[in-house]
């Protein structure tokens, strides 16, 4: 699904991301953990063709993301509020995204059903613009919109941040269901070690732009991660 060759991003002489080789198979769910400034978001942006890499390539389904737009058809993503069209209402936004993927009104309603728990009655039918929602609810809207098209690849940056504990648990279950039922490939970054372990079957640690560890999740993973991050 995703292959990275020799990817590098250098800002003013500092290398922020340096990933010589990485491949993620279809259906795999990968968690990316690392401290602030480790380069997670930069890596995601290069995968989504939002930043021009200093060196190297990103391939989605064997097509270079910089040369072909085909990946946009099967990739859903939400990194930050910069992805939300904030002067629309939540419904209008879902409608717009749905239209781009040729979904009918009914399709959209149906695909949002699993999100109703997460929305907790605070998102739909509110008669307000996205810019007036709280950070947490904005995140819920962004994640739902990313998953709306049933993408084969779902990329989320810090999906658990800014959410209240109940919402975090609901989102965790939701992502697990998407993975198990739709076989969605996922790439999720998080600061919350326990959540990301429950959602993802493969964990990678990014430090100073380098992938320093790459492991399959098992009962010892949380302890290993905690040891790693204890300074």
């Amino acid at each position: 699904m995703l292959t990275i060759h020799n990817l590098q991003k250098v800002y003013n002489g500092t290398t922020v991301v340096n990933v010589p080789e990485l491949s993620i198979a279809a259906g795999e769910s990968v968690g990316l953990v690392g401290n602030n400034g480790a380069g997670k978001t930069t890596l995601f942006r290069m995968i989504l063709d939002l930043i021009r890499p200093s060196k190297g390539e990103v391939f989605l389904k064997d097509a270079n993301v910089m040369q072909s737009d085909a990946w946009k058809n099967y990739t859903g993503s939400y990194l930050d509020e910069g992805f939300l069209i904030d002067y629309l209402t939540a419904e209008e936004y879902f409608r717009f995204i749905g239209d781009l993927h040729g979904l009918s009104e009914g399709d959209i309603t149906e695909r949002l059903l699993p999100f109703m728990d997460l929305f907790n009655g605070e998102v739909l039918n509110q008669r307000k613009y996205i810019r007036d929602f709280s950070k947490g609810n904005q995140k819920k809207i962004g994640v739902a919109a990313a998953a709306l098209s049933n993408p084969e690849l779902l990329i989320l940056d810090e999906p658990f941040a800014n959410l209240d504990p109940s919402s975090q648990i609901r989102l965790k279950n939701l992502l697990r269901n998407l993975r198990e039922q739709k076989r969605m490939t996922m790439l999720i970054s998080s600061h919350d070690l326990s959540h990301v372990i429950e959602v993802c079957e493969r964990i990678m640690i990014l430090e100073k732009g380098q992938l320093v560890q790459d492991m399959q999740t098992n009962e010892n993973t949380l302890r290993e991660l905690e040891t790693y991050f204890t300074v």
Binding site: R45, L48, D49, L50, I51, R52, D69, K72, N73, T75, S77, L79, D80, E81, G82, F83, L84, I85, D86, Y87, L88, T89, E92, R95, F96, I97, D99, L100, H101, Q126, R127, K128, Y129, D132
Partner: protein, 492 residues
């Protein structure tokens, strides 16, 4: 305390990112200030002669006094339109051990050194020195000046109070403006002689300097009104004028018939409709439709061609120049999102094109009545419309990839220099000069209408090669999108 707060205000102005970034902008701002300043100074020294010419045989000071009431009403009107409320500036101090009274005084005092309060005195002070002092002596003139200052500040504080109370309903402002125009018309036809009242009031001020206490007391009252109100409402959520707005409007059904393009245009129409800054650009563009009146009434302009070409470009093109000069910066807040969505750059730019073309057509149709000033105007405006649609659109799209600055749409457009950079001024040049350059050789050869035809013809070529030109614009966009996205991510 005030003394340590006011320097913060200075720093906030001086360090605001807009001013730090662009030298060209600073130079142009400086020139503008010099320009308006010198106009006012010039008027101040020559006003007596101008007034004498307009109203021969009347006392100059009395005429000036008669106009003052209208001046202050118009001043109030423009303040409603343009002046912003300095409110949220206190937010970072609210939790600190600073007395509330001090903060409120700070807010109110801070509003004094503004463009609105200072500019008129460039005119009034020289006028006073050269005309009023010789007429009534230093004492009366000083009282007169003080009363004008007091009324200016009264307007300042009245505005602060009412704008906060009524929030900003454009309808109120508009009806207020209409009421002023109506009063002036009534005065002109001699039905209601408001100017006599004005003459009497300010005349009395000159004779009885003690009367200056009245406007000063009124000003103090307005200040206290603001003070008591603000003191009991120092919570940020109450200070903010605009609360979370309720969502309005639904989808525009007929646009969705145009498929993906229609969707993108609908998105942008909503963007324009739901933000303050874009809406004020819309109003500004409507005002520019009357631009023709300035020139077409003047016989000497109607003789030539180059000037009319310039006016023609402005009349149909102004909405596009106004809005297009910031493209695609309007969408800077969700630019990353747009790039990851299933929208091809070609479609993205085609939507922009098909949004601007109907607007220019509409402006063209609305300004057709100018044809009464001469059929030549219709010919020229048709040619310039074609040029706008065929060439200037691409000039705008060409420069769009240089608009790397993020725009904050919630702020109003007037005096908003955010995103204004050197490229804006470079952009206007070819758009305005090119058609005149095309015309020039024909004009010199004595075949002006062939020149007009050439402008229209070149525009038509652009219309015919629309697809290629849009593709070229889209390709440039693809080359530059990383730079744009990086620029938009930096909040300014």
């Amino acid at each position: 305390m005030l003394l340590s707060l006011l320097p913060h205000q200075w720093k906030a102005e001086l360090r605001s990112s807009v001013f730090k970034k662009s030298i060209a902008l600073n130079i142009i701002l400086g020139l503008l200030i010099l320009y308006f300043g010198s106009i006012f100074l010039f008027l101040g020294f020559y006003l007596d002669k101008i007034l004498l010419k307009l109203f021969p045989g009347q006392d100059v000071v009395a005429t000036f006094n008669g106009g003052l009431v209208f001046y202050f009403l118009i001043d109030l009107f423009f303040r409603f339109l343009l002046q912003d409320l300095p409110v949220l500036a206190v937010q970072p101090y609210l939790h600190l051990p600073v007395k509330k009274n001090k903060l409120v005084h700070y807010l109110l005092v801070k509003s004094i050194p503004s463009f609105f309060n200072l500019l008129p005195f460039l005119l009034i002070v020289p006028f006073m020195q050269s005309v009023v002092v010789p007429a009534v002596g230093q004492g009366g003139a000083t009282a007169w000046l003080l009363s004008l200052i007091a009324i200016t500040l009264l307007n300042n504080y009245l505005l602060l109070y009412f704008k906060r109370q009524m929030s900003t309903k454009p309808l109120y402002t508009l009806s207020f403006g209409l009421a002023i125009v109506l009063l002036m018309l009534l005065d002109y036809f001699g039905l209601v002689q408001l100017q006599l009242v004005s003459k009497a009031i300010f005349g009395a001020m000159l004779q009885q300097p003690a009367l200056v206490a009245v406007p000063i007391l009124l000003m103090v009252a307005a200040y206290l009104l603001n003070y008591t109100f603000l003191k009991s409402h120092t919570y940020p959520e109450e200070l903010k004028v605009r609360k979370a707005s309720e969502a309005t409007g639904t989808s525009i059904a007929f646009l969705s018939r145009f498929g993906e393009i229609g969707k993108l245009i609908e998105l942008e129409v909503k963007l324009i409709w739901r933000h303050k800054r874009t809406k004020s650009i819309l109003t500004m563009s409507v005002f520019f439709l009357f631009y023709g009146l300035l020139f077409y009434r003047n016989e000497s302009y109607l003789e030539g061609f180059s000037f009319l070409i310039f006016v023609g470009i402005i009349l149909s093109g102004m909405p596009m120049f106004n809005y297009g000069q910031f493209l695609p910066g309007w969408q800077s807040a969700h630019f990353d999102g747009l790039l990851t969505l299933r929208i091809s750059p070609y479609q993205f730019y085609r939507a922009k094109y098909w949004m601007m073309v109907p607007v220019m057509l509409l402006a063209y149709i609305l300004t057709l009545p100018y044809g009464f000033f001469g059929y030549k105007i219709i010919l020229i405006n048709t040619a310039t419309l074609l040029f706008n649609i065929g060439v200037n659109v691409y000039v705008i799209l060409f420069f769009s990839v240089y608009n790397k600055e993020r725009l904050d749409l919630s702020k109003s457009a007037t005096f908003n220099w955010q995103g204004v950079g050197a490229s804006k001024f470079v952009m206007v040049l070819p758009a305005m000069l090119l058609p005149i350059l095309i015309y020039l050789p024909f004009g010199l050869l004595g075949v002006p209408y062939a020149g007009i035809a050439a402008i229209g013809g070149i525009g038509l070529l652009g219309v015919i090669f629309q697809k290629q030109l849009l593709q070229w614009s889209a390709n440039r966009f693809v080359e530059n999108k990383y730079k744009l996205a990086a620029g938009y991510r930096q909040s300014s």
